[in-house]
């Protein structure tokens, strides 16, 4: 491995900017770190270059641990967005800088300089000053300069950011050719997904300091594991569906995908399906739809001609069985439009114009593994529901996760014991406010099928640390999945806290340590989530309480296997939580009828 990063963490004013990043990059690989601005990708690159320190973690280059090696001794070439050429030096002096510092002889410096200038196609410009060159030429000089001392690793920090499209294209090709010719391991940082696709052998997507997913461009595009990657890499429609045994079903009453019926016995789960705009088919009627997967009918709102492709935005008809878009594109909950792009041949076969009614089919959908599909605010009356739906943390989370907030008025919450009328089953994540002791609310929700319950105190801000705990090993997988889903959208550190009884004998303690390791490796293997682990002793509720009180800005995620565990073991936590608390409830399954693998 050329570059090995192990659990890198860098905090800035207490908040993690690089959050537990582990990554391995192979020899000669062109790796692209992709993420929105502020996702920590540049900080990570600077840390690899040795220009910024780390709070935690190790960096190895070609098997050599360089965590505590200064930038000048790391043997790394770095190219900056704004070139960072030495303005008072000529091109030749700039390129020879690294050699001059190493006291390389003049003849050798000259030879190397000419070789590098040829490599970046700038022969003959040796004696120019940077100010006399165009932006593209300056960046070529910067690349040549970064390669002069034959670094083992080349790091490029948004090298095309300041260049216009045409020049970008040429420089991209040059850099890719140089990289192939030298076989040098390269990391490029960018926020431009097109650039990432064009250059990368492998892409790593970052958000809120976390490395969410890594993979080949095609794989990440067609089979993203996370909602963020799905929407960040190209356009995506996120559609709420019900996951049955054989694929997603849209809406309440629609026929399941591929026309087959639901698997029996399997409990349907609400899921989020990713449908790329180019996988949407538009037709006059259901009969003329060439793909089998009917989605809905809708009205064309807008058609944009973009050259090779046509982009359309479609408002879905509000039938009772209409599918629900998981997110609100653009302006809040109101305008949710389906995006479709159509190639020339599709446009010729069926021309559309705004106001036209069309039938929509889905050629291909990809179901996300994410367990958090939607938030449903639950309150005894509509005004409470409204104010809870406007809770800053919830609004923040839902907009980051591109998840809808549904409202549900549940008078039973006020008097849970009053009656046992039939209520519609809960789906998605239920959100309730703290109104005194939350135990009765939670118990009621669990009885009515609530699987994830988020309890929000009135003044809760975005957490910096998320504590994870489960009372029962059978809740582990689900809790980790939910935690991973939420942590991808928070700038927070994840800590798994295991609590053992006060006087645990040494032999039993080793089991506890094994549990910690299991938790960590499952989080990493199944969800790409890096967590830290802690062991505490005592009564679970009290130990957690103490840990939460150590510093402000916590959130707690607790996995339980039965409602009784909640009322017995964790009652103290529910008394009046001052931090956001997310309960993940998964009944222990009888081995006889296992859930269908989805």
């Amino acid at each position: 491995m050329s570059i090995t990063l192990d659990q890198l963490t860098k905090r800035y004013q207490g908040a993690p900017v690089v959050n537990d990043v582990s990554l391995e990059i192979g020899d000669g690989e062109f790796f692209v770190l992709l993420g929105p601005s502020g996702s920590g990708k540049s900080t990570l690159l600077r840390a690899i270059a040795g220009l910024s320190g780390l709070d935690h973690g190790c960096i190895a280059l070609h098997g050599r641990d360089v965590t505590h090696v200064s930038a000048r001794q790391r043997g790394v070439g770095l190219v900056f967005q704004n070139y960072a050429l030495f303005g008072h030096m000529t091109v030749a002096e700039n390129i020879e800088f690294a050699l001059r510092v190493r006291r390389v002889g003049a003849a050798e410096r000259r030879r190397r300089r000419q070789e590098l200038l040829r490599l970046v196609a700038l022969e003959g410009l040796d004696e120019r000053l940077p100010a006399q060159l165009s932006g593209g030429q300056q960046q070529r000089v910067a690349v040549a300069r970064a390669l002069a001392h034959k670094p083992e690793v080349l790091l490029l920090d948004e090298p095309f950011g300041a260049l216009d499209a045409k020049i970008r294209e040429g420089l991209r090709r040059t850099i890719r050719e140089v990289q192939r010719e030298l076989g040098i391991t390269t990391i490029l940082v960018t926020h431009d997904q097109e650039e990432a696709f064009a250059m990368a052998d492998r892409i790593g997507v970052m958000n809120f300091g976390r490395l969410l997913e890594t993979g080949k461009p095609q794989d990440l595009y067609t089979r993203p594991a996370t909602r963020f990657v799905a929407t960040f890499l190209g356009a995506a429609n996120l559609i709420l569906a019900r996951q049955g045994a054989d694929g997603p079903r849209w809406g309440a009453g629609a026929a399941p995908a591929h026309g087959s019926s639901l698997g029996t016995g399997a409990r349907e789960r609400e899921v989020v399906a990713v449908v790329r705009p180019e996988e949407i088919e538009l037709a006059r009627s259901r009969e003329t739809l060439s793909c089998t997967n009917y989605l809905a009918r809708g009205v064309v709102e807008e058609v944009l001609f973009t050259g090779a492709l046509e982009r359309a935005r479609i408002r879905l008809d509000e039938a009772h069985d209409a599918p629900i878009l998981a997110h609100a594109n653009g302006d809040g909950a109101g305008a949710v439009l389906l995006e479709a792009t159509r190639a020339q041949f599709e446009q010729r076969a069926f021309a559309i114009s705004p106001g036209q009614s069309v039938t929509i089919g889905v050629r291909r959908a990809h179901v996300l593994a994410t367990p958090l599909s939607s938030f449903t605010v639950c309150a005894p009356n509509s005004s409470d529901a409204e104010s809870l739906a406007g809770h800053p943390l919830l609004v923040d989370l839902s907009s980051r996760m591109k998840v809808r907030i549904r409202r549900r008025v549940e008078p039973m919450l006020a008097a849970p014991a009053a009656s046992h009328e039939a209520v519609a089953p809960l789906s998605g994540t239920t959100v309730i406010a703290v109104r005194g002791d939350a135990t009765s609310d939670v118990t009621w929700l669990l009885e009515h099928g609530g699987e994830e319950i988020l309890i929000l105190p009135e003044h809760a801000s975005s957490p910096r640390r998320v504590l994870i705990h489960w009372t029962d090993e059978s809740a582990r997988s689900a809790t980790l999945a939910v935690s991973a889903s939420i942590l991808r959208h928070l700038a927070a550190e994840a800590i798994y806290v295991d609590v053992l009884p006060e006087h645990t004998p040494a032999a039993a303690r080793s089991f506890g340590i094994r549990a910690l390791l299991d938790a960590r490796s499952e989080a990493r293997a199944a969800h790409g989530l890096e967590i830290r682990t802690e062991m505490r002793f005592g009564v679970a509720a009290r130990a957690l309480q103490q840990r939460l009180d150590e510093a402000p800005g916590h959130m707690l995620i607790v996995g339980i296997a039965s409602a009784s565990q909640l009322t017995n073991e964790l009652a103290a936590l529910l008394a009046r939580p001052r931090w956001p608390l997310l309960l993940v409830h998964r009944e222990r399954e009888a081995p006889a009828h296992s859930r269908s693998a989805a």
Partner: protein, 279 residues
């Protein structure tokens, strides 16, 4: 030349006219009068005033002191500018404001203040004299100190914007290329701010040379020892020896002109070398 594009201020002719007028009235005319007065002095009288041992000693002190003060300001002004530009610390703004104090203070006040601190029974001077035997007030050290104080803001304020221009990236780049700290400083930072350093040096020097108010308080004004040229001029004036004063004045004028010209040529040469290399 005006390139025909409308600008905020009215036409080129008008603004150039004002520029010439003000320069003439405020700078050139008085200087011309000085030179004329000196030129109309009989030669022996001129030489008496200009080349007397007392005058020669005062030149040495004035020019030597100003040069030394400018050197001190070059080094410490750079350090102060660096600190203010590169670091964020509580009290930074306050410190930034304090730099300007010598600008605003009447120079006599600075002189009195320095004397109060450094005289043999002053707060600091007392201990300096007792433990190190160094006397600041009424010696050349005191003169240089006053000159440094007066020139400091000029040095700092010219270097600050230049240092702001030196981006962190340049140093980072140099570091990844294998340069040590000293090397980064010498090869990257200093060359980038060299013009500003020279300008700061020049301004501090010019200011120190012309300084009168604060120096006379702390210098003790002993002829041949701690008497600066501007003071000698004032002494001539007090004796109603206007020609002698003008003669000394024109020598100072000529000398500072030569020095400033030399520094300007140096800068132009530096630029020229770059331009030549570009071709």
């Amino acid at each position: 030349m005006s390139d025909g594009q409308p600008t905020v201020l009215p036409g080129f002719g008008l603004t150039l006219g004002f520029t010439t007028f003000f320069l003439s009235v405020v700078v050139l005319l008085p200087l011309a009068a000085l030179v004329l007065l000196a030129a109309s002095t009989p030669l022996h009288q001129f030489l008496d005033a200009v080349a007397s041992p007392r005058a020669l000693a005062s030149y040495r002190l004035s020019f030597g002191g100003a040069l030394l003060a400018a050197c001190i300001n070059l080094v410490f002004g750079f350090l102060i500018a660096w600190t203010l530009v590169r670091y964020e610390f509580p009290g930074r703004r306050l410190m930034d404001a304090v730099i300007d104090m010598p600008f605003a203070l009447p120079t006599a006040v600075s002189g009195i203040a320095l004397t109060a601190v450094f005289s043999t029974n002053g707060w600091l001077g007392r201990y300096l004299a007792e433990f190190t035997g160094i006397h600041v007030a009424y010696t050349r050290i005191g003169i240089i100190l006053a000159m440094t104080l007066i020139g400091m803001p000029f040095a700092v304020r010219t270097m600050q914007p230049a240092l702001l221009e030196v981006r962190r990236d340049l140093e980072d780049a140099a570091e990844t290329l294998g340069a040590g700290r000293w090397c980064v400083f010498r090869r990257v930072v200093v060359p980038a701010v060299l013009p500003a350093l020279l300008t700061g040096f020049t301004l501090a020097f010019a200011r120190a040379l012309g300084e009168y108010g604060s120096v006379i308080f702390i210098s003790g004004n002993l002829p041949l020892k701690t008497e600066i040229t501007p003071l000698l001029i004032v002494i001539h004036l007090e004796e109603f020896d206007y020609r002698g004063a003008a003669a000394l004045g024109s020598v100072m004028l000529a000398a500072s002109f030569v020095i400033l010209l030399a520094i300007n040529l140096l800068q132009a040469w530096g630029r020229g070398r770059r331009v030549r290399r570009e071709q």
